[in-house]
C-alpha cells in the first residue's frame, strides 16, 4: 500500500484560504488503510474545516466525496461529476499524490490541492505503525536478499553488506527505530543457507530504471486497445 499522513489543519487552512466551496475527496483504498484519507478521515477533516470556518466567521461550504480510489481516470470522472454537482471551486485531496496529479491532468481549469503528505510504499506493521518496504527502484533485488530490501530498508541503500553504523543492538545509527536490514539479511541468509546468493547481487545498480531516471512510463502492448487503423491481425 501507499502510506501517507494528513497535513496539519493549519497548513490545510492556509492552502484553502482563497476558496469558498471545497470538495474534500478521499481514497477508500491505500489512504483509508493508512488512516489518512478514507471516508472517515474525509468526514473528520470536513467537520474540522466547517467548525474552524464558523469560529472565524468565514463563508465556507465543505462537501465530501470518497471514491474507491483517485489514481485512475474512471474515479477522477466520478469526482469531476461531484465537483459539478456541488459547484466546488476546489478539490482538496486526501488521496496520495497520484490522485492529485490525476485530477490536475484531467481537469485543466479546476484547482486541486493536497491535504496529505504521501510518504512511501509499505505496510502497517502494527496498529498505528507503518514501515517502508519497497522503493520502486525498477530492478528488484529481492531474489538475492531473501526477500528483505536493502534499497528501501537500508538508510544508505547499500548493495553489498552493512556499513560500520550498525549499533550493538542491531539498529541503524541513523535511527534507533530502524533495524539494520543488512544484519537481518545476513542472519536470514545464514539460516536459509543462501549467503552465496548475496554475492551475486549486481553491485552497480541501474538507477535509470528508478525515479532517478526520467518519469517512468509502463507500456504493455499486449494490453493496449488496438486503434482503428491498426486492428489485431492486421499485418500491414
Amino acid at each position: 500500500m501507499i502510506v501517507g499522513q494528513q497535513k496539519s489543519l493549519d497548513d490545510i487552512w492556509r492552502m484553502i484560504a482563497p476558496f469558498s466551496r471545497v470538495l474534500v475527496v478521499g481514497c477508500n483504498e491505500c489512504m483509508a488503510a493508512a488512516h489518512a484519507g478514507g471516508e472517515a478521515e474525509v468526514a473528520e477533516l470536513a467537520s474540522a474545516l466547517r467548525i474552524r470556518a464558523r469560529n472565524e466567521g468565514r463563508e465556507l461550504e465543505v462537501f465530501e466525496f470518497t471514491p474507491k480510489r483517485l489514481c485512475e481516470p474512471e474515479y477522477v470522472a466520478e469526482v469531476l461529476a461531484e465537483v459539478a454537482r456541488c459547484k466546488a471551486d476546489l478539490v482538496l485531496s486526501l488521496a496520495c499524490g497520484v490522485g492529485v496529479n490525476s485530477v490536475a491532468d484531467q481537469a485543466a481549469d479546476l484547482f486541486v490541492l493536497p491535504a496529505v503528505d504521501t510518504l512511501f510504499m509499505g505496510t502497517g506493521a502494527e496498529h498505528g505503525v507503518w514501515l517502508e518496504y519497497c522503493a520502486g527502484c525498477g530492478e528488484c533485488v529481492l531474489e538475492y536478499t531473501g526477500g528483505l530490501c536493502p534499497v528501501a530498508r537500508c538508510s544508505k541503500g547499500l548493495m553489498a553488506g552493512p556499513c560500520g553504523g550498525t549499533r550493538d543492538d542491531g539498529s541503524c545509527e541513523v535511527s534507533p527505530d530502524v533495524p539494520c536490514v543488512w544484519k537481518l539479511i545476513l542472519e536470514r541468509a545464514t539460516r536459509l543457507g543462501t549467503r552465496e546468493r548475496l554475492l551475486e547481487m549486481p553491485l552497480f545498480k541501474n538507477w535509470s530504471k528508478s525515479s532517478s531516471g526520467s518519469p517512468r512510463r509502463l507500456v504493455r502492448e499486449d494490453l493496449r486497445i488496438p486503434t482503428e487503423d491498426c486492428k489485431e491481425g492486421d499485418t500491414r
Binding site: 547499500l158 548493495m159 553488506g161 552493512p162 560500520g164 553504523g165 535511527s175 552497480f204
Partner: protein
C-alpha cells in the same frame, strides 16, 4: 617513504588523520600536517567527516602533495555519484595522489546538513571495483582512459565490532575481493575483543592498521560508547580518566593511547592515529609506545 611503500615493504605502517577546515584558510591544518609528517608514512585527509561540511578532501590532499607531504585521499560515496567519484579520482591522480581510502560515508543525518539528500549511487564495494577498473585503464562504462591505466593504491576501513562481527567480516571480505590493499580500523580500546576480531581478519591476508583515538576525558569515552557503533571503551579506562586530575589528563590520555598501541602492535601491521585536534599528543603516543618510522 609513503604508505604504499611502507605496506609494500611490509614495514609497520603509521598514518594520522587530518581534517580540513570549515573555511578557506588551511594555515593551521597545514602547520599541524607539517608537524605530524615526520612521524608517519601518510596523512589521511577526511572527506566531510561525520557529514559535517568542510573544505574538500581532494582540495586539501592536493595542498599536501604541493607541500611534499603524503596524503591518503579519503573518498566517501555519500556526496558524489559514479561520475563525480571517477572525476575526482582522476583529478587526484593528475596531482600524483595514488593512495585512496574508500569509504561508504556517514549518513547526512549525522552531520550539520541533516536535510541533505545523500547519493550512495554506488557503495564502497562499487567504489573499490571502480578503482580497479580505472587501474585497468577503463571507466565504469568500459570506455578507455586516454592516459592509459591509473595506478591507485586503494584501502578501506573496518569496524571491529564484537556485536556485529559476522556482518563486519562479511563486508571486509568483500572489500578484500574488490581490491582493498590495506585496512584502517575504527577506534580500538578493548584489546582482547580486537584480538578476537584479528584472529578472523588475519585470514584475509591484507594488512590491518589499528585505529587509535585519544580519549580527552571520561565524558568523551561515555559519549563514544553511547553514540559510535562498534566502539566500546572498557569501564577500566573510563575510571582511569575519571580518577585523573584535570591538569594530568593529557598525560593520562597519552599513557592510555600508548598502552593500547603497545598491546595491539603485534596483532596488526600498523596504526592509524585519529587525534581529533590533539596532534602533539598523537606524536607523544607513538614515542611513548616506541613506534617510529622504520
Amino acid at each position: 617513504m609513503n604508505l604504499r611503500q611502507a605496506i609494500g615493504d611490509a614495514r609497520f605502517a603509521i598514518t594520522v588523520e587530518v581534517a580540513p577546515p570549515k573555511g578557506t584558510d588551511v594555515t593551521e591544518v597545514l602547520n599541524a600536517s607539517r608537524m605530524l609528517a615526520p612521524h608517519v608514512h601518510a596523512l589521511n585527509v577526511t572527506d566531510n567527516q561525520s557529514s559535517v561540511m568542510k573544505l574538500s578532501s581532494l582540495g586539501f590532499s592536493i595542498r599536501l602533495m604541493q607541500e611534499g607531504l603524503n596524503p591518503v585521499f579519503q573518498v566517501t560515496c555519500r556526496d558524489r555519484n559514479r561520475i563525480g567519484l571517477q572525476g575526482d579520482l582522476l583529478a587526484a591522480a593528475s596531482f600524483g595522489i595514488d593512495t585512496v581510502l574508500a569509504l561508504t560515508g556517514d549518513h547526512p543525518r549525522m552531520g550539520d546538513h541533516p536535510e541533505a539528500k545523500p547519493v550512495y549511487d554506488i557503495d564502497v564495494i562499487g567504489l573499490l571495483e571502480t578503482i580497479r577498473m580505472l587501474n585497468q585503464g577503463r571507466d565504469l562504462s568500459g570506455n578507455e582512459l586516454e592516459s592509459g591505466p591509473a595506478d591507485f593504491f586503494p584501502g578501506a576501513s573496518v569496524t571491529p565490532s564484537p556485536a556485529n562481527m559476522d556482518a563486519q567480516l562479511f563486508k571486509m571480505e568483500r572489500k578484500v575481493k574488490a581490491g582493498a590493499r590495506f585496512f584502517q580500523t575504527q577506534a580500538v580500546f578493548d584489546v582482547p575483543v580486537f584480538a578476537e576480531f584479528m584472529k578472523r581478519a588475519r585470514d584475509f591476508g591484507v594488512p590491518v592498521m589499528a585505529g587509535i583515538i585519544l580519549l580527552k576525558n571520561a565524558g568523551m569515552a561515555k559519549f563514544m560508547n553511547a553514540n559510535i557503533p562498534g566502539v566500546t571503551v572498557p569501564k577500566g579506562i573510563i575510571n582511569e580518566l575519571k580518577d585523573t586530575d584535570k591538569k594530568d589528563r593529557r598525560a593520562k590520555s597519552v599513557e592510555i593511547g600508548a598502552r593500547i598501541v603497545g598491546e595491539v602492535k603485534d596483532l596488526v601491521q600498523g596504526v592509524h592515529m585519529m587525534p581529533l585536534g590533539w596532534d602533539k599528543e598523537a606524536v607523544a603516543v607513538l614515542e611513548q609506545a616506541g613506534i617510529g618510522l622504520q
